[in-house]
Symmetry: C3
Subunit: 141 residues, 3 copies
């Protein structure tokens, strides 16, 4: 099998800023729509963004966004654009998207399984992440 449509895409989500979560959600939805399995591995501040009861919180933007960026993102919200978590839910409906929390980051943030939003499918270590990634692309966001 060397068909690129069959290779999984693995995203390591590290950053919890709203703009990067949006970018990650769009990259996920696009790959899922093309029939590619997508594995998402949640680390650090991205994991914090998937805390149960807080997945719809407004999160900060990257510092470089500036006031212009804030206004642009606010305009998207006002226009009823899907949020990053809604985009991920949709991606899971149309394709094969697996979201795993990094076990080491769970320890760092003192989170346990019940602290995770139901969109998260499980908890895994780095070794499992690499095994699932296989030969596919790995993107750190």
């Amino acid at each position: 099998m060397t068909d690129s449509d069959e290779l999984p895409l693995s995203l390591v989500l590290f950053s919890g800023t709203e703009d990067k979560l949006q970018a990650a959600a769009v990259l996920t939805a696009g790959a899922a729509a093309l029939g590619r399995p997508v594995h998402i591995f949640l680390q650090y501040w991205a994991l914090e963004a998937f805390r149960t009861g807080h997945i719809d919180d407004r999160r900060p933007l990257s510092p470089e966004a500036g006031e212009f960026g804030e206004q642009a993102v606010e305009g998207m919200r006002a226009a009823g654009q899907l949020t990053w978590s809604q985009t991920l839910v949709q991606a899971k409906e149309i394709g094969e998207v697996d979201i795993q929390a990094c076990s080491l980051s769970m320890d760092l943030l003192r989170m346990s399984a019940e602290d995770l939003d139901p969109i998260v499918d499980g908890i895994e270590g780095v070794a499992a992440f690499y095994v699932n990634a296989g030969d596919g692309q790995i993107v750190f966001i």
Copy 2:
């Protein structure tokens, strides 16, 4: 074809900080010099950096650069080092470098085709990005 020299390199440019744009330009020029096709996909604040009439603006550095970093980058400028946009122009002259604006980010920033610096070759969606990336590496900057 499994020759790595033939696989495209795809860079998703998200960040509009000068240091990351420089890093991206150097990675682009290096791959182009080795004969690899390079696809650049402009999102969010990186897209903003390619706005016509503003591509030579000084842009902020990553917050972690600090005063030391500012001085280092200033020293490079004073020494006549190529800017990131000049490096990209050069990379296009020596190799196959295609720069595309992400259509969703165009909407976010309310930009249209005439707002893009001529170094940008076109506008595409996420699906086209993945098709062009094929089995090659994808790097998010």
Copy 3:
């Protein structure tokens, strides 16, 4: 050879924040434990973090970490968790991990070979980086 265990993993370390260095060290150790060669290419502020005599300095976190993040990382330190540089040393003991400083970034930061912590194996240019990366994944952190 198309066995994914044999493909190298290449990490471009750009960011010098402690959280991203930790994430990079964990990804390195995990890949090394699976028998994959890991190539690390140090650029910009990550290179600064490998300055001799300063590799154990406490470094800033990403801005988005906030006070909560500072406390989480402090808790890990207090619990005797390995630092990122200790994790890299361990990864080099169990696997094949090669750490190279980017020659252009050496110029930017006005560093010479003797300014590099001994954990760094050498200095190379972008072309050498791509040749060593081959068809393996490239991850920018």
